[in-house]
Symmetry: none
Subunit: 126 residues, 2 copies
């Protein structure tokens, strides 16, 4: 049995963590970085390469992702390797599932959403 003070403390801890995870995910550059790291571990410079912003900016983004627990960074020699750490994402996902009367991936709702968004921006196809 968990007493109320402990529960409060737990929620508070959880709250800070969710703050930083969701805030980290709220930026398209950082989501793009995560997507890149999904395919392979990368050095900071290589992460920065496809983006049209300074290395320092990317370095900051990586710091935010790291502090949120979404990636891990390990320095080997003079290069710092970045790898995805999906644990924090999983926590956030668990939180979200609490709202889900939804089974993991509901493609129907997904498609309904897309249908509502379609007219704006036709896909560059063909």
């Amino acid at each position: 049995m968990v007493d109320d003070a402990l529960r409060l403390w737990f929620c508070h801890l959880m709250s800070d963590r969710l703050d930083s995870v969701f805030a980290a995910l709220a930026d398209p550059t950082r989501r793009a970085i995560l997507a890149m790291l999904l395919e392979d571990d990368m050095a900071v410079t290589d992460v920065a390469e496809p983006f049209e912003m300074s290395l320092a900016a990317i370095s900051k983004h990586l710091g935010i992702l790291s502090r949120a627990g979404l990636i891990q960074q390990e320095k080997r020699g003079r290069v710092k390797w970045c790898k995805l750490d999906p644990d924090a994402l999983r926590e956030a996902s668990v939180w979200m599932q609490g709202f889900g009367q939804f089974e993991a991936v509901n493609l129907d709702a997904f498609e309904r959403f897309l249908a509502s968004e379609l007219p704006d921006d036709p896909p560059p196809h063909g």
Copy 2:
């Protein structure tokens, strides 16, 4: 198989929406509001009651949640009722699932859906 142009378009499309959803979720007050609405629909004043901040502040938070698609607001008489709308959460969840187990987003089904939906029937947006 989905071609790269389509994937790019897809990412761009989702991007704005994900920005606002994750940004909305990155605030503990707003997450608390969502948790309250999970139990029941509420009027703005009632949502504000347990928080130690002004009604105007809560009204702003509700606006952010609403614009992110996380809640729906309906005015009946002089009271505006707020209800949870888990669709946006579901979309964000879909995105996150991509980083967990790799059934990823089913882009094949997505493409088939687009093929059937794109040519005519442009749904009104906004």
